[in-house]
Symmetry: C2
Subunit: 361 residues, 2 copies
Amino acid sequence: MTVADVARAAGVSKATAARVLGGYGTVSDRVRAAVLSAAKALDYRPNELARSMTTGRSGTIGVVVGDIENPFFSSAVRGIADVARLAGFNVILTNSGEEIAAEKAAVKTLVAKRVDGLIVSPARDSDIEHLRDIERSGRPLVLLDRAVESLRVDAVTADDFQACEAVTRLLIDEGHRRIVYLTACDTPGHRFETLDDLYTGSVRARVAGFLKAGAEAGIEAMGGFVKLGALGAERTRAQARDLFEAALPPTAIIASDSLIALEVFRLARELGLQLPRDLSLVCFHDADWTSVTSPPVTVIRQPVYRIGETAARLLIGRLKGEGNAPAHVVLDTTLIARGSVGPAPAEGRSGARETRLRHPV
Amino acid sequence: MTVADVARAAGVSKATAARVLGGYGTVSDRVRAAVLSAAKALDYRPNELARSMTTGRSGTIGVVVGDIENPFFSSAVRGIADVARLAGFNVILTNSGEEIAAEKAAVKTLVAKRVDGLIVSPARDSDIEHLRDIERSGRPLVLLDRAVESLRVDAVTADDFQACEAVTRLLIDEGHRRIVYLTACDTPGHRFETLDDLYTGSVRARVAGFLKAGAEAGIEAMGGFVKLGALGAERTRAQARDLFEAALPPTAIIASDSLIALEVFRLARELGLQLPRDLSLVCFHDADWTSVTSPPVTVIRQPVYRIGETAARLLIGRLKGEGNAPAHVVLDTTLIARGSVGPAPAEGRSGARETRLRHPV
DNA sequence: TTCCTCAATGAGACCGGTCTCTTTCAGATT
DNA sequence: AATCTGAAAGAGACCGGTCTCATTGAGGAA
C-alpha cells in the first residue's frame, strides 16, 4: 500500500494524498477526510525508508558502546534511549566488544544507514580515522564517557581525574602504599609504561589522577601498580590471582569497573581474604550489588544515566541546528565510602597472610 | 557521492558501476578496477537506505524489550546482537519500559523502518493486535522470554513452569508454608485472582508451577501469596515492607527477577532479618551479584544469553527462508542452591521475630 | 563462412516517498 | 467589471540505489 494507492482510492492526486499523509502543505478538510479514510480502509503504513531517502533525515541515532552487558553502559544507553524517544528519535544500538575492528564496521554501517547522528564510546583514541569520517559525512558525533582530545566534537564524561586522585589519596591516608589500579584497558606489551600507552580516555584520566596522588605522597614507581588487561571474567580472575600471589601483594585495589570489582571481590573471598582487613577495594561505578555485599564496596558513583542523557541531549541539540562550539561536559562524581576500605594492614602481618594465600580454602 | 558520480568518473554506465559496487552481475576485471579506483578517489559510500528501498531488505532486525537496564534483558540483547552481527544484521533496540503504549509505538516505527524481522518481549499477552500487525506486514516475529499462546509465531522461553514448581517444592520441603511469589507484573486491582489476570507469559507459567506445588502440598489459598506490582525499586521496597510488616509475614520469598531480589535482600538486611534463619530468598535469574552476597542467593539460572541467541537464530533462519512450523523453544533452567534458603523457622519463634520487625535497626 | 551462445555493458524503469512548479478558481480589491 | 491574491490541487522530477531488458561482439560449433 503506497501513497499512490491511497490517492487512487480517494480520487485525488498522489501529491495531495502525500500532503495529507505526510502532514505538510495545505489541504481542504473535505479532501483530508477522504484521504484519511481511504488510508484506513487500505491499511496504509508509511514507508519510513522512502521518506528518509528524500528528506535526508532518518530520525535515528546510532550508538556504539563497548559492552551492553556492562551495567555501566546499559544504564547510559537507557539514558540515551529515554531522551531519544521523547525527542522522537530511534536508537540503533551496536556492540563493539571493545574491539576496534568491530567499532569501525559499526560506524561504517550506521553512516551507510544514514543515521542522523552518532554517540560513540571509542575503544581507543589512537585509531580514530573512522570517527573523523563521521564528521566528514556531515553528521554530528558525541563521545560517551571517553573524550578524545584531538577530535573537535562534543563529549560527556565523568570527572575521572579528580575522582581517581581523591580515592587514591583516601587510600594513601589510610596507610596504603601498595595500591593497584586494575583496568580492562591493555597495551601490546601488557605492561603500563607511560600515560600515552593507555588508549582509553577515561582510564588515562583516572591513571593520571592515580599517579598524581601517588607522586604527591612520595610513593615510588606508582606506575608499576597500574595493571592492565582485565577484560572478561577469566582474564580478570587471572590478573587478580597474580596480584594476590605476588611476593608483595597489594593492600588495596581500585577496580576500573564493576565487573572487575566483582571478580576481585569473589576471588578475595575464595582465597579467604577479609575485607577490609586484608584488602581494601574500591570500584568505579556504583553498580547495584556493591551496596549489598559484606562488607559493602566503596564506590565512585558516576552519574551514568545522566551521562547518557546529556550525550543524547547534546546530539539532538546539534541535529536541531544549535551551532555552539564543541563542548566537553564533565559531570561530577561522588565518592561513596562503604565498608570495603580500611587502614592498611601492618607490614608485620603480611607473612601470615601469605601463608594463608598459599593454602587457599 | 552516488553511483552515478562514480560511473561518470570511471567512464562507464551507471548500471555497470552499480554492478561493481553492489557486487552482483558480471563485470570484466578491467572495468571493475576502474570503478573501484574511481570510488576510492571520490570517497564513495553506499547509501544503505536507497539499497533497502529497492531490495526490500534492510539487513536490520528490530528488538523491543521491557528494560535494557535489567541485566536479564541486557544479557539476552547481547546474545541477539552477537548472533545478528555474525549473520550480517544490525539491531535496532527499543525500550518499552514495560508499557504497552510504548511497545506499540516501537513496533509501529520498526515496521515503518522496514526492519527485516522483529524480536519482541511483549509486555502483556492480552493486547497483541500490534503483534498481529507484524505478521500481516509479512515480517517474521520471534517472542523473547514470553510466549503468547494465541500467536502462531516462534518463541523462546525458559522452562518457567517446571523451574518455579521445583523451587516452590524445595521451599515446601524445607518446611515453608507462607511462601510469597513477588513479581513486577500487575493487574488493575493490584491483586491476584486467577492465572488469567497475569498478562505476562513467563510469570503466568511460573505462578502456575507455584500454585501446583502448593496445591500438591495441600497449602490452602496459595494464590493469596502471589504479590504483584513490584515494578521499580520504590514500589518493590514498598511491597516488601508490607510483606515483612504483615501479621503473618512470609518465611520465604521467590523474587521474579534479580532487581526485585536485590531490593528484598537490601530491605531484609536493613530490618535486621537474617537469611536464611528469618527469611529464605530465591531469585529468578542468576545475576552476577547473587553469588557474592552473604549469604549468597539461591537462584534459578536461566540461560539468558542463549535465549537471546536462539531467538536471533530462529529469526534469521526465517529470514533465510526456512519455512518450518512456528516453534516454541523451551530451554532448561538450573536450580543453583546457595545459602539464602534454609528450613522454615519454627512457628513459636515468630512472636520474637515480629517484635524485632516492629523496631527495626 | 555462417549461425549461435553467452559474457559484458548500456539504457532506463522502478521503489515510495517529498517537493517544486503550475494551474485553477473563489473571493477580495478598486 | 477587471484585476489581484492566495488557497487548493495536480503533474512530474527527484533521492540513490537495483534490476530487467536490449545491444554488442568475441569465440565455438556446424
